[in-house]
């Protein structure tokens, strides 16, 4: 057990112990979600601002429900309905929110480093809910939680991440988390979206889908992020599906206990066949359930102040 951070900005700077602390804490919070009364008073009287400068549905809803279950007061703030449209800077917006005595700011932003920036100018705790193509730490933590829960461990597993790695903050956070926890990570996709430079992060890069998934324990599919690509990075969606889409024939060549993950939203028929997305080997909806527990755990942990973690017997 070790956690003394005020913010959760990325996975890159977390230690293995800190990641394990989040996963262990989330395990307890998952049980809370299965009770008749799902609310606990851990954040009673605290105010959380959900500052979503970039559109998001599932992450925002997941954070919102996590905050409600911890009894926090919530302010939701989206780019479309804010003064950012009127030319206010991010810093001014955030300082205005802080003037209302917000204790936590959960932020999604299209610019990499936005959460780090906020954490430097504000007194509130900042939780990164995705910044540009940089990181999406809570997604990686929920992915690690899901893998650990289903496989009993992470160290030594072969995890293949498929698709749009270049523009994916999920991929970056996943790579950091899974390699720190001892998994063998393989990246696969079109060479334009999966450059060899990712080998520097400690993973294997291949452009042959069949080879990438053959020995995989976990196949993590990522969505093609049309909105983040400056120009077409591959000839057509159809060609992508043919070369890198997960279909029945390809799945038949994997290990029988290989499990399939996807952070959503799923483009059915593009990166994954509809039937596979709904199969017993798919963990997609478990990821959503676990995401709630992981976000409760993160909010709970960053709420902690200074001092000893363990209650010494009293």
């Amino acid at each position: 057990m070790s956690w003394n951070r005020k913010h959760l900005l990325d996975i890159e700077s977390l230690t293995v112990d800190e990641i394990a602390t989040v996963l262990d804490t989330a395990k307890a919070f998952k049980v809370v979600g299965e009770r008749a009364i799902k609310k606990v008073p851990a954040l009673r009287g605290k105010t959380v601002v959900n500052l979503f400068i970039e559109p998001s549905t599932r992450t925002r809803i997941s954070f919102e429900l996590a905050e409600q279950r911890l009894s926090a007061d919530i302010i939701n703030f989206t780019a479309e309905a804010s003064s950012l449209k009127k030319g206010e800077t991010l810093k001014d917006t955030a300082r205005n929110l802080e003037a209302l005595n917000a204790d936590f700011i959960v932020m999604r932003h299209s610019a990499s480093g936005a959460a780090h920036f906020l954490s430097r100018v504000l007194n509130a705790s900042v939780i990164n809910a995705g910044d540009g193509a940089h990181e999406h730490p809570t997604q990686a933590l929920l992915d690690a939680f899901t893998i650990r829960e289903r496989k009993g461990k992470i160290a030594g597993l072969n995890v293949t991440i498929l698709g749009d790695i270049l523009y994916s903050r999920v991929a970056r956070s996943d790579i950091w988390a899974l390699t720190k926890l001892g998994a063998h990570v393989t990246l696969c996709g079109p060479s334009t979206l999966v450059p060899k430079t990712f080998e520097q992060m400690g993973c294997r890069v291949t452009h042959d889908m069949d080879e990438a998934i053959r020995e995989a324990d976990i196949i993590n599919l990522l969505r093609i992020q049309h909105e983040r690509q400056r120009k077409t990075m591959f000839p057509s969606i159809n060609e992508y599906t043919q070369l890198f889409g997960l279909n029945k024939a390809r799945l038949a060549k994997t290990r029988p206990d290989a499990l399939i993950m996807h952070p959503g939203p799923v483009n059915r028929g593009v990166e994954i066949d509809s039937e596979i997305a709904d199969s017993v080997r798919s963990l997609i909806l478990e990821q959503v359930t676990n995401g709630l527990a992981v976000r409760m755990a993160v909010l709970y942990l960053v709420n902690g102040g200074k001092g000893p973690q363990e209650l010494t017997g009293n």
Binding site: K27, V31, A42, L301, G304, G305, K306, G307, G313, N314
Partner: protein, 178 residues
């Protein structure tokens, strides 16, 4: 290592638990209505041991659960977030006599948090408190019903409970401040 005085050894712990179990049985004549709930970390193995002793006295199994209280503490933003243990209560507490079990009773704040946490699981007929060590210095109007040993302590001292379930040997020590 700070200097530690032995307060209870393995035999004394066992004797204290046996006595507490008999006191519980004396206070609650209908054993079928009694359930035990341990407060992590130390209260959990203690509640299991008490359950086994009581099962022998009453000739019937005594249900035992685990109640995490960390999310209900009143000092969450004053210290590093304490470890959260999963709550497992595989029975309905409504209408039952719940005996909360903890290793050390100190300020009483953990017990208060436990009373609050237990609310979310139903409405027990009554709640009793069993502790291995009562070290005094209460900050709330809370009192234990069953006490293994009363140990007068100074505020800065530490009561260290070690139990064989955690891989150590059974003993309770009192550490002087460094």
């Amino acid at each position: 290592m700070p200097e530690a005085t032995l307060i209870l050894d393995a035999v004394a712990i066992q004797r204290a638990l046996t006595r507490i179990a008999h006191e519980i049985a004396e206070r609650n004549e209908v054993g079928a209505n009694v359930v035990l709930i341990g407060i992590p970390k130390g209260g959990v193995p203690l509640s299991q041991r008490l359950s086994a002793i009581l099962a022998g006295i009453w000739n019937q199994p005594v249900p035992v659960g685990t109640l995490d209280v960390s999310m209900h503490r009143d000092d969450l933003d004053r210290r590093a977030a304490p470890r959260v243990y999963p709550t497992v209560i595989p029975f309905d507490v409504t209408g039952k006599t719940v005996v909360l079990v903890d290793d050390v009773l100190f300020s009483g704040r953990t017990t208060r948090a436990a009373l609050d946490a237990l609310n979310d699981f139903g409405r027990p007929k009554n709640i009793q408190l069993a502790v291995l060590v009562d070290r005094g210095h209460r900050e709330l109007p809370i009192k234990a019903d069953f006490v293994g040993k009363n140990v007068p302590t100074a505020m800065g001292e530490k009561v260290v409970v070690s139990l064989r379930e955690d891989g150590g040997e059974d003993k309770v020590g009192l550490e002087k401040p460094k």
